[in-house]
Amino acid sequence: MSLGEYLVKNWDRLLELTVEHAVIVLIALAIATVVGVTVGIATYRTQRPSKIALAVAGIFLTIPSFALFGLLIAPLGLGAKPAIVALVLYALLPILRNTIAGLRAVDPAVVESAQGMGMGRWQRLVRIELPLAWPIVITGVRVSAMITVGIAAIAAVINGPGLGKDIFRALARVGTPTAVSQALSATLGIIAIGILLDVGFLLLGKLTTSRGIRD
């Protein structure tokens, strides 16, 4: 069966898996953004804690995905939950690193004048520092999206949702007539999600960045 015929016959199933795949990636990114930005805010003004946080997030990224999914079976079982947790851990480093870098790149004179005008710590953070760091933060989210879209396919080994299911199924049936088409169509779906998210975050970044700091 050619790829074309396969797609025509299976498009509703493919669409369903694609949506599943995109949803776990987006959930993981949302959690990773909250955690990464929070840890970034908590540590960017100090050297040691920020280094430690970055090192830990870096270690997560070096754990092979197969191993990490496997390790999470014991505490979290099978399915979507451990898949999302694993994806959050992978997504953390770029977001955390860019949050710290973005907040540190804010012109000290701007922060000083905000303080000198009577803005409290929290007001400075919310109204001045985060909006100015935001373009860098969202670039980190974009990078994390690219990383997690691919890794999410591996979540199928622990019964996770998404296009990985079709890839593993195809691998198990190598040599059968539809195996190649099945693997290929799932891969193309992942690439499509990747491109959509990349463009989506690029646009979101532009729309949520003040005109005064857009280049």
């Binding site: 905000a114 003040s210 005064g212």
Partner: protein
């Protein structure tokens, strides 16, 4: 400048009083600010000036408690603010720094609205205030309100920064080298504009600079600081120039104190030299007679409105082969009466006759500034300043604060 300087010293409670203010940074043997006592009178510009590292910026940042003092008291408008909530305190004190520090992601209007919004003013009132301030600092509200800082020139940013500092009409302003990062020509213009603005707003201003010329130009009083923010001399620019308290101050003022003093005097404050004049339709022999009856080398030819046209010397008048108005030299080096003597001297040195022609606002001839005028004025200034320096000294703050 002379207007502001001659303004009487404020009576009663000073706007800012620093008492034994001390800041020790951890790990430093010497305090950055060592038991500083200083009083800033209401409505005056007090300049903190000194070599780098003397603690002038630290002192300024102690006043709005961006740096917390180790000991001592800060009293603003009679209220001890050493322990009050620093954010509330800062909303009552305008703050302008060298880098301006406009918020790049906000429009000019939103930048200026920052403190009013913190103080929870109504949006309507804020909008009106923003436009009023933009007008005040010479930025057309309709053109600049919605611009972002990156769309402004350096000078415009500085103006927006001043407008932002003035937004909630604070009685006190702190300015840390506000014109330091601006090219010399624009700086000169902003300084003049700011002095004009201050005539209207009469804020109490603490102004930090390392530039003694800026201090002399901008200050009603100058505190010259040495290491540890110790006051070497606290006095009016005139007194500091004419009677430096010690070698440190004299060194800091540097050579040319007399020349610097020329910045303090306006052309209309000195007696102008009178050169022979004639209108352009006067007969040659009459002009020659005028010239010969004076002790000068040339006659200034004026038009019907008494505006200067040309300088003609005796040999020009006697050259009958050409019309009189094509001989001699064009009357250049013209200054208005409110220019400083320093401006006039500059013009004078550029001109052919060593004379700066003084005109009124309609351009009519008033007199001239020549070397005699300048040296006379310098001597007069020196004499006046010496006399004032010997006048009784008030018991108030620091060295040599003189009541006039």
């Amino acid at each position: 400048m002379t207007d502001t300087v001659q303004r009487s010293a404020a009576t009663g409670e000073p706007m800012i009083r620093l008492e034994g203010l001390t800041k020790r940074f951890p790990g430093q043997a010497e305090p950055a600010v060592d038991a500083l006592d200083l009083e800033v009178p209401r409505g005056e510009i007090v300049i903190l000036v000194g070599p780098s590292g003397c603690g002038k910026t630290t002192t300024m940042r102690l006043i709005n408690r961006l740096i917390e003092p180790t000991s001592g008291r800060i009293v603003i408008d009679g209220e001890d603010v050493t322990k009050v909530d620093p954010d509330n305190l800062r909303r009552r004190i305008g703050y302008v720094i060298q880098q301006v520090g406009l918020f790049p992601h906000m429009t000019v209007a939103d930048n200026i609205a920052t403190v009013p919004r913190l103080l929870k003013w109504k949006e309507e009132r804020i909008r009106a205030r923003v436009d009023e301030l933009l007008d005040l600092v010479g930025l057309d509200p309709s053109a600049y309100r919605h611009r972002y800082p990156k769309q402004l020139s350096g000078g415009q940013r500085q103006r927006a920064g001043v407008a932002r500092a003035l937004s909630a009409d604070p009685p006190v302003m702190l300015m840390d080298e506000p014109f330091g990062a601006i090219d010399p020509i624009t700086r000169e213009r902003l300084q003049n504009e700011f002095l004009r603005l201050q005539q209207e707003i009469r804020k109490t201003i603490v102004f930090v600079t390392h530039d003694i010329d800026e201090a002399i130009k901008m200050g009603d009083r100058i505190a010259i600081l040495r290491q540890g923010s110790r006051v070497a001399q606290y006095d009016t620019p005139e007194h500091i120039l004419s009677a430096p308290a010690d070698d440190f101050v004299a060194d800091f003022i540097g050579a040319g104190a007399s020349l610097k003093r020329l910045n303090l005097t306006r052309v209309h404050d000195v007696e102008l030299a009178q050169w022979p004049t004639a209108t352009s339709d006067t007969a040659r022999d009459e002009i020659l007679a005028t010239l010969q009856s004076s002790d000068k080398g040339a006659v200034l030819i004026l038009d019907a409105q008494r505006r200067p046209l040309r300088w003609v010397a005796a040999r020009d008048i006697q050259r009958t082969d050409r019309p009189l108005m094509e001989t001699g030299l064009v009357a250049e080096a013209v200054v208005e009466a409110h220019a400083t003597l320093n401006d006039a001297l500059n013009e004078m040195l550029r001109s052919n006759y060593g004379v700066a022609i003084v005109v009124d606002s309609s351009g009519a001839y008033q007199g001239a500034v020549d070397f005699g005028t300048v040296s006379g004025a310098v001597q007069e200034l020196r004499r006046a300043a010496r006399a004032a320096a010997r006048a009784p000294v008030s018991g108030g703050a620091s060295t040599g604060e003189t009541v006039r």
